[in-house]
Structures are given as C-alpha cells and as structure tokens.
Amino acid sequence: MTETSQHSGPVLAADGRPLKASLARALRREKLRAMLLIAPLLVFILITFVVPIGQMLFRSVENQIVSDVLPRTSEALEEWSYNDGAAPGEAVFFALTQDMVVAAERKEHTRLGSRLNYEESGISSLFRKSGRKVDEIGEGYADQFEAVNPMLVDPAALTQLFATSAWSEAVASDAELAVTRTFKVNKDVAEALPRASDAFREFAVFNQSVDEKDPRKAKLWNSVSLALFEDLRQNPAATVDGPASAAIAAAAAAVPAFDVEDLAQSFAKIDKDWLDPEVWTVIKRYSPEFTNGYFLNAIDMEKTVDGPAWRDEDQQIYLKLFWRTMLMSMTITISCILLGYPVAWLLANLPTRQANLLMILVLLPFWTSLLVRTSAWKVLLQQQGVINDIVVWLGLVSDENRLQLINNATGTIIAMTHILLPFMILPLFSVLKTIPPTYLRAAKSLGATNWTAFWRVYFPQSVPGIGAGSILVFIMSIGYYITPEIVGGTKGVFISNRIAYHISSSLNWGLAAALGAILLAVVMLLYWAYDRIVGIDNVKLGG
C-alpha cells in the first residue's frame, strides 16, 4: 500500500493542489507551444481549404436568391397555394411588378431566372422577357397622375414628399449629397402611403447607388405611380403634410375614376406562362432561404406538390452514377492490390541495389504529368491503337472485332489502375519491409509449404498495408476527375465529372455542392465502416 492510496481524496501535488490540475497546468504551456508551431499551417488550411469548401458545401442548401430578388412576391405568395388551381391574385402581381422593376434595373432577374430554370425549364426566358418589358406596367397610371397634377410624376417633387426633412435639408445645403447621402423615407408619409414610399425608396436608392445619379433628376419608374395608385385606392383618406398635400388629395379624389390596369393580364401579355400555376409553385417552393431541393435532385428526386418524389426512370442519373463510381473504384482498388502486391513484395525482398532501381520505376509515373500518362493510355487503348494492333497481329482478335478498350468503363479502370498503382505499392511496401523473412523460414521449418507459409503467416501480417493502400486508392479514385473525363467516354465517367459539369457548364453550383456533399458523406461513412471492421489502428502508412 502506498501512502497516496490510503487517502480517499484525489492525489495531491507537493504544493497541495490536486495532481491532475498541476499536471494539466504543466502540459498547457507545452500544448500552447505545439499549437504555435502548427499555427501557420492551420491558418493556411483554414483560409484556403476549410472555409472555401465549407462555403461551397453551404451552397447545397442555401437558396436566398428568390427571397433576395423577389422579397415582396415571396411574402405575398404565402397566402397562395398550388391547389387554388389558378395563378395568384392581383396583390401578388403587384408585388411581382415592384420586385421585377428593381430586379430588372439591377439586372438580377436573369440570375434568378437561371436558378429557377434548374427546377423548371423555361423560367429563364420568362424572366428575361419580363425583365425587358416590366417597366411598361403602370405607365397608364403615370399618365393619368400626370393629367391630375404633373407634380405627381415629378421626381423632384416626389423626393421632397417622401424624403425625411433631415435628408431634404442636407441636400438643399449641398447638392452633392443628393447622390452620396442614402435616401431616407419620411415615416409619416410611409404610414399614409406605404407602397408608394417603398417603391420610391427603391427608385431613389437605385439611382444613388447604382447609377450614381441625383434621384430628383432621374426618370421616374412607372412602378411608383402604380404603387401610389394602389395606396390611394385602398386608402382614399390618406393625407400628407407639406407642399404635396393638395396634389395627393386631388389624386385621391381622382383615383376612383382611373382606368384600372389588370396586372395579371399585363404580365400575361409579356408571357402567358405567368398565368401558369406551375411557374408560381416553383417560385413559391424555392422562396424559403434554405432548401433541400439540391439534395433531392442529387439523389434523383424532385420536389412536387405532394412532397419529394422519385424522378421518372429515364431522368434518374445520379444514383446510378454514384453506384457506378463506387463499383469502379472498388474494381480499381482490387486491381491495384492484385498488381501491386507482387511488386511491393519484390521491393521489400530484393537486394538493396535492385530494390532501389525498382523503386525508381515505381516512382517514375509520379514525375510524369497526369495528363500525359492519361493521354498515353488514349494512344494505347484506342481501336486503332497499339494494344489492339498487337492483339490483332497475334491473331487473338479479328481485324473487324477490335476491342473497345477506351471511352468506356474498361478504359477508365485500366488507366486509373495504372495511375493509382503507386499509392497502393508504397504503403504496402513500407509494411512488407517490416515483416522479417524469419517468419517465412519459421513457417517452413514447421512444415508449411511455400504457399501455406505465405498465406497463413506472411499475408495476415501484410493486411495493414493492404488496408492503408486500399483506403488511399479507393478514396482517391472515388473523387477522380481527369482520367475518367479523358478516357471514360460516357459509360466510364464518375460522379466527379458530373460535379465538374455543374460547376463549369450548367453553373448549377447548388446541385454540384449537394453532389459533392453526398460524395464526402459516402467517403466518411466508408471510412467509419472500415474503422469499425478493420480498425484504423491496423493501418500502417510506414514504419
């Protein structure tokens, strides 16, 4: 029995503190120093790797574009549902007009159009067309207001009306400020004329920030007149103070007699798709700031009115592609084991001189560009290529039946096995090197044949190397891009090629991010499973 074990409490250090706390304090400094050593790398990785990837993956659920570009419409659409069986009412079209005018002026509508086009084709052109003509909506009201009082369509007078007195005074003292000082809405006026002041604020701020113009001298948007009409129609009793009060009162009196423009019809005139409830469902479905739509797409599902559903059989590609990627990666891994094991064995057992030469041969491919190696395979594998020529010359295959070795899965497997082989050989070699040849001798002295000695004694000890090589090769091949792209044709491409397509061609980054996130999850899952089955401690990359 030691002295400490007789105490029931924690072990104390010489100064009376608990030993654990003392130890932690002593180690903290060391840990801090260690952290400082790796800090530059950590920061580098964080900035160049973790943050961009995190951001990219975030795109797979992020969907702010609809609510950003069409904030009023999204809000107005909350009341509406597809089951109404018809396009939404005037309130929604009013909101759409206001949003579209701003979006068109800011040129954001095409971006939104492309985004929604991923979900429903045709929306892109719908938005582009609408963006061009939306400024005409409300023109009738502008003319009628002008007839009542030209002041009602005069930007200078309206600026006076809608701006805060502080803003007006500042601008009055220095005309420059009309551009630089952000336009502020007068609260009292906003209460009386909420839509009009909102529309005018958009107009003023756009002129200030994008065109860098004095809003007082800009051309007024028709949407402001539309908004003013809507305000006065809904609230004829609205009054404002100041010089414009008389004009507003006159306008309020005149509004009931105005020619009313049917906004839905105006949009339908631009494109009749605006009356199609399908279009509106898509907009409504993608109004929330976050969506699972990209992920559903990535696993061949789509959002429908009745919730997520499988796509039609002939439209399903991603699950098939994931499955093919896994299957081909496994084939490549297994071929690498079969081809790499004997080489690694030779490397570990040859005399140093010959082993070094062999090692150089193994490493040689690393010093050659990946593209060059892949292109070389193209030359070798094509139908009129070297391998086919030899096979035909040997008479194994007739000239008409030349083997199809490229632009299919075979080509991808052959080329990738070659390219990834060193990643199998090197970890395997480092493990085989540590297995003393005495084990084989011992097994043979105990009566085992060469094969039994290898299979029962040598091979089990090399499993950690196989594990390490397999993880490396499998994970590398599952995300491989260049080689399948060049030699894979259509049948031999991987999911990564599809991701690249969405990143660079279709520009559907959200879907690309969702596919990437799934790929990442699959790899992690496999890694976890491997850890559970084989144990990651059993993986040796060296020593």
């Binding site: 003393p436 005495t438 084990y439 001798r441 011992a442 097994a443 043979k444 002295s445 105990l446 009566g447 085992a448 044949t449 060469n450 039994t452 000695a453 029962r456 004694v457 089990p460 000890q461």
Partner: protein
C-alpha cells in the same frame, strides 16, 4: 580434427562447402557426424560459418558442394518443409497475429492432424515449458523468456527428432539465460532429441553440450566434449577462444617425448607439452590457463623452469583472486588463485617466480 563418419551417424556433413558469391568460401570442407540424441554446439565468432551450416541443415541455404545426410539419407534436395526438423530462431519468430496456442498448433495443422489430437499435443508441449496458462495470449504480451519458451515448445510440438537452435538465448539477460540453458538441456535429454545449437557464447557452449564444434574461418577447429576442449585445446585459436588463456610466444628448442623446451622471445626458457608444433627451431605459441600457474615454489617440481614475474595488479573477486603480471615482456599475463585461508595475497610491485606442470603448458601452432 573432426572425426570421420561412423555407422550410427544421425546427422552427417560430408565435405560440405558453401559460397555465396562464387569468390569466397564461407564454409570450407566441413565434415561432421553426430549420433542420435547428441547435443552438439557450434561455437565460433561471427562470420565463422556456423550459422550457414545450420541454415544448410535446415534447408534454407543449399550447399555449394558436398552432401548433408539425415539418418543416412541425403537431404540436399529436400525442401525445408519436408525435412521435419524443428527450429528455434534467434528472435523467436513467433507469429504475431496468432495466439500462443495457434502458434503451436500451426505445425500440426499443416501436417493435417485432427483437432482433438492437436489440442492435446499443444497442451503437452506447453506443459513441457511450463507455459500452459499462456495458451491464449499473443506473443507480444509475453516477456522475452516466455517467448523463448514458446518458440521452444513450437519447435518440439510436432515431435521432430532433430532440433536446430540459432542463438536462441542471445536476446535474454544473464540470469534468464542460465535458467533456460538448464531447461533446454534437460528437455533435450528427457525427450532424447538430437540438438544442433549455434552460439557465440562459450560458457553456454561448455555448460550445455555433449560436444562442441569450434568454428573459425569456415572450418571446424576442434570438435570435442567441453572438458577436453578447455583442457586440451588442439590449436591456439581454440585455446584463445575458449576460456581465459595466457599466451607466450617463442621458438621450439628441444622435444623430448611428452615434453619440450621453448625459448621465449626475451631469452627465457620454459617447459611445455608439445601438442601442435612443427620441427625444432619453428615458432610456437604456448598456452597456460591462469588457474594452472603456480608461484609457490614448493608446489613445483624441483627441476621445473621458472619465470621471473612482477605483480602489476591484484584484483579481489570474492571466490578467486585475479593477479596481472609482467612476464617475459607481456603485461597481460594473468593468474587466478582460489580464495583459500592459506592463500597468499600478492601486492603490486612484488617480484615473484612462476612455474607450472609441464602438461598444463601446451605448445601450439604459432
């Protein structure tokens, strides 16, 4: 030299040579014959060819020339796994991915022995080395001595008649080594197996073996029982290699039957027994064991030649006294005397005269 072939030989090397590079012979003309049940040790400095001999016997190296016979049959072309020879390796070579019991079961499995019999044999072999309780451990969970015991049990479990051991105790500490030396010899004698044991530790060789083959330069320098090896070395290499030894160099002056006179390089004359000498006038090395040197004149023959010596160092070692002397110009002449009540303790600087019985001083090759 090694005795020739005998009819009851169990293991035989006949004119065996081995070369790895085709330029140098590692084993030169090896002739050796062992009867069944013998414990023979191959002793020698590293590079003397002893391990190569063992490996040729086990079948991991092929003889460049000559024949190796086991029980009268040439085994030159039999692969190692068919020779049925048990082997204990220097670093045990226990399979790390198998438990102790699986390790022992392995040689029985490859011999297609049934499960029940296998288990019984494994337990019996573990019993022989007192390791029954460790059957389910992994080799890495055992200490060096325990691993060595298991390696031994594994080499014995399939009941081979010949067991080879390649420096099996090299990695163990002294005390454990001594215990295991004892255990191995006992076991070998109990089971009546023939053992070829390779070591470079002469104490091990002397204490364990029936006969010791001293290797040097690819040849057996002497093959003899331990006592003969120690007391009657045939050449100066063996005399030097086995035990502590004083060597004096000189020229042969005169040979009279079982005795001769050697003139040392400083002119002194000593008596010696001619064992391995040439003609009169040739160079010789005389070898005297430290414990056979006398400095008490009363114990020597009256007419014996004596040498003047100066005490350089006196070391008290408990059971013995070790005294270093300057004799005939050499400063590392050592004598050992038993710590008895009447023993004289020499003091450094003291001038004494030393001598010996003629038969203890062997004149060997130069």
């Amino acid at each position: 030299m090694a005795d020739g072939t005998s009819n009851n030989a169990f293991v035989e090397f006949e004119r065996v040579q081995k070369s790895y590079d085709g330029e140098k012979l590692v084993v030169k003309d090896l002739n050796l014959s062992m009867p069944k049940g013998e414990f023979l040790t191959m002793l020698g400095p590293s590079g003397s060819g002893k391990t190569t001999c063992l490996m040729m016997l086990a079948g991991f190296e092929t003889a460049t020339h000559g024949e190796i016979k086991l029980d009268g049959v040439s085994i030159n072309h039999i692969p190692p796994h068919k020779r049925g020879i048990g082997m204990v390796f220097q670093n045990y070579a226990l399979f790390p991915h198998m438990t102790v019991a699986e390790n022992l079961s392995f040689p029985l499995e490859v011999r297609k022995i049934g499960k029940a019999e296998r288990e019984q044999k494994v337990m019996r072999a573990l019993g022989m080395v007192q390791m029954q309780d460790f059957a389910n451990r992994r080799p890495t969970q055992l200490s060096g001595g325990q691993q060595q015991r298991i390696a031994l049990a594994r080499a014995l479990v399939f009941e081979p008649e010949l067991v080879l051991m390649d420096e099996p105790l090299g990695a163990l500490d002294k005390q454990l080594r001594e215990t295991l030396q004892f255990e191995i010899t006992n076991l070998a004698h109990q089971l009546g197996i023939t053992v070829v044991y390779v070591t470079h530790d002469q104490t091990e060789a002397l204490t364990m073996s029936d006969r010791v083959a001293v290797f040097d330069d690819g040849r057996i320098q002497q093959l003899a029982p331990p006592d003969e090896l120690y007391e009657a070395p045939q050449n100066s290499f063996v005399a030097q290699f086995i035990g502590e030894n004083n060597t004096l160099e000189g020229t042969l002056k005169e040979v009279k039957g079982n005795s001769c006179i050697v003139q040392l390089d400083n002119g002194d004359i000593i008596d010696a027994m001619p064992v391995n000498v040439g003609a009169v006038g040739e160079r010789t090395k005389v070898s005297i064991r430290p414990e056979r040197v006398e400095f008490d004149k009363t114990r020597l023959k009256a007419d014996a030649h004596t040498l003047k010596a100066e005490v350089l160092e006196f070391i008290y070692m408990g059971d013995i006294f070790r005294t270093r002397l300057r004799v005939a110009g050499s400063e590392d002449f050592v004598i050992k005397s038993r710590n008895a009540p009447d023993q004289t303790r020499l003091t450094p600087g003291q001038q004494i005269e030393i001598g010996w019985m003629t038969e203890d001083c062997r004149a060997l090759d130069a």
